[in-house]
């Protein structure tokens, strides 16, 4: 059984006006695209508040909106760890410590930084895996959006894919990265305006925070947990068996807080590209810090509706239910769509639904812009056709956008046919990404790290992740895509999440140690002069600019961390 949303005339009007604006922004920006630097890097001319909101929004795709609400309904407020111990500290670290090297190195992309710092093979490895990863992520967003349109509005699946792909294609081909960034800012406000009334009215219906706490206490005791498990984020993290995530505080802090979050926010070109488009070093450093302020409050927008849904589901006669599968398990991914239909009247429903569609589309657009840059600069210009004119590369960027969208469409159909292949691919990407942060950390803060060390460290980190996954299994699963495929199961984790966190910890540690060992055994391949601007100890400290105190990265970082600490304590 699937819920249906019935959109009225005004709802469709809002949806259509939004997409006219999206394409219109691409159209207006077309006249500004003079060369490849405008197209791929926005000519490094965008103010910090815009890159900051785009930085946040690029990650605000399907996974964030649908997934965080789903986790809110499954795990309760513990989901906030993805923000308050995961994303925020990593974003502050990126802004204060890492951005000077990304922006200052004048690299066009994250893989190019790896080439400048280490060597060609490390860059090729990162560029190749990243390009494949972005295309498949974009395809998965497209698939999820089409599936949503099909199930909620009964649109034709093929038509939904075609319409969404064409909108993304048009605005990126016309306006490049700038168009993607501007639309991400527009989408940020859509999400806030579309979901804030939903979170507010849901909480009101559940009887406010106190009422929700009481409802969730019932849910917790029914599942054999302590009453506060769903509303207290830290108190039940002492052991893996006392919370529904199945994770204890060390695995959480180390796996999620350190390896996964820092790995994603500090090295994924999809988000870093937004900061690199900023109009000055100071703006680039402020980008993730500005993003951190709204990010800190996003749990109230995306996790709270999930918690409300869980609370309302306890009342069997309250008229609120999620669709269930054949075994009676609720489909948590339907939290947001069901709540939209349950609470929002025609009018606001259009705003909320458009926000949801926008999130999927920008998830796709972000991947496509990152793909066309890495493809054109790091693969095409470096290995296939070096030394061509700037106009040629601009043309290639547009062509790469078209090809990228077409392959995404293919990936979307692949996802609809072979769901397992997609799961497998996402798993492989996790193996590649987890150790990457060790490579960057050593690269930026240890000048002795060598190209061979980085490359082999990265490769063995990936292998260690795969092996760890191959010999462990989350409880209640058969060996296969979920793990244990190497024949023997050495350890069983209480949940899939715990297994993920520990896979990341092993991969990071492996990459870190092996990079150090091989670096010490091999000769330095970059002179100190070459490493200037790429490594912390060899880069002259930035002269303090005469920026007002509220624009200083360190001040912003301290304020953000202080506020995040306060949130952790309030909801501990």
């Amino acid at each position: 059984m699937n819920p249906t949303l019935s959109l009225g005339g005004i709802d469709y009007a809002i949806l259509i006006i939004y997409f006219v604006f999206v394409v219109g922004i691409g159209w207006v920006l077309k006249t500004h695209m003079k060369g490849s630097s405008d197209f791929f890097m926005s000519g490094r001319s965008i103010p910090a508040w815009i890159t900051g909101l785009a930085f946040l929004s690029a990650n605000l795709g399907a996974q964030e909106v649908i997934g965080m609400a789903a986790s809110g309904a499954q795990y309760g407020i513990a989901t906030s760890h993805f923000y308050w111990i995961g994303a925020i500290p990593a974003m502050v670290f990126l802004g204060i410590f890492m951005m000077p090297f990304y922006y200052g190195s004048k690299a066009h992309s994250v893989p190019e930084y790896l080439r400048l710092r280490y060597d060609e093979k490390t860059r090729a490895f990162n560029a190749g895996t990243f390009a494949v990863m972005t295309i498949f992520s974009s395809g998965i967003s497209l698939y999820a959006l089409a599936k949503l349109l099909e199930s909620l509005l009964h649109w034709n699946f093929n038509a939904s894919i075609a319409v969404s792909a064409v909108v993304v294609l048009v605005y990126i081909t016309l306006g490049g990265l700038t168009s993607a960034i501007y639309n991400e800012v527009l989408q940020f406000f859509m999400i806030v305006f579309g979901f804030a009334p939903l979170a507010w009215i849901g909480l009101r219906d559940a009887g406010g925070w106190e009422g929700l706490k009481a409802r969730l206490a019932t849910a917790a005791t029914a599942n054999h947990f302590a009453p506060g498990t769903y509303t207290q984020s830290w108190q039940h993290m002492g052991s893996a068996s006392s919370n529904p995530m199945g994770v204890e505080w060390f695995g959480l802090a180390m796996g999620l807080g350190f390896v996964l979050s820092f790995g994603y926010w500090c090295t994924d070109f999809l988000v870093v590209q937004r900061a690199m488009a900023a109009n000055s070093m100071s703006a680039a450093r402020r980008t993730p810090l500005i993003a951190a302020f709204p990010k800190m409050l996003f749990p109230f927008l995306v996790i709270l509706p999930g918690m409300v849904a869980l609370g309302l589901m306890q009342d069997k006669h309250g008229g609120f239910a999620l669709p269930t599968d054949a075994h009676g398990t609720p489909d948590y991914n339907m939290v947001i769509p069901v709540m939209l239909g349950h609470y929002l009247p025609s009018g606001l429903l259009g705003l909320g639904f458009t926000a949801l569609a926008a999130a999927f589309m920008s998830g796709m657009a972000g991947n496509v812009t990152a793909f066309n840059t890495v493809w054109t600069y790091d693969l095409y210009q470096s290995y296939i056709a070096p030394g061509k004119s700037d106009k040629h590369y601009l043309m290639m960027g547009r062509l790469a956008t078209i090809v990228g969208v077409l392959v995404s469409v293919g990936a979307a159909y692949l996802a609809s046919k072979f769901n397992n292949i997609m799961n497998l691919l996402q798993l492989v990407f996790a193996f590649v990404n987890a150790p990457l942060f060790a490579t960057f950390l050593l690269g930026m803060f240890w000048r002795r790290a060598t190209g061979h060390g980085a490359f082999w460290g990265l490769l063995s980190g990936t292998a260690i992740a795969a092996i760890h996954h191959g010999v462990t299994l989350p409880i209640g699963n058969e060996p296969g895509v979920k793990g244990g495929w190497l024949g023997t199961v050495l350890h069983t984790y209480p949940s899939e999440m715990a297994q993920n966190f520990w896979t990341a910890i092993f991969a990071w540690t492996g990459c870190f140690l092996i990079t150090i060992a091989i670096s010490l055994a091999t000769k330095k391949n970059r002179t100190d002069a070459e490493l200037k601007g790429l490594v912390y100890s060899l880069t002259p400290k930035a002269v303090p600019l005469h920026e007002p105190w509220y624009e200083r990265p360190v001040v912003l970082g301290v304020v953000v961390l202080g506020a995040t600490l306060a949130l952790n304590l309030i909801f501990a």
Partner: protein
Amino acid sequence: MNFDLRLPLGLIFTLFGLMLTGYGMVSDRAIYARSLGLNLNLGWGAVVLAFGLWMGTLALLARRKRHTKPR
């Protein structure tokens, strides 16, 4: 770049704000049963409208400043 994002932001949210508040005034009260009897279109529409007008004003002020600046 000679393109102020606040202008399209101001335009679209002013438009959405007007649509929502307008619809809130003419719509049948029965549709608000699901939103706990609250006319969310009118109330939230006003917030969206205020944001749109604020963005638009900022954009226009910045444009005027740019035009009066001696070259």
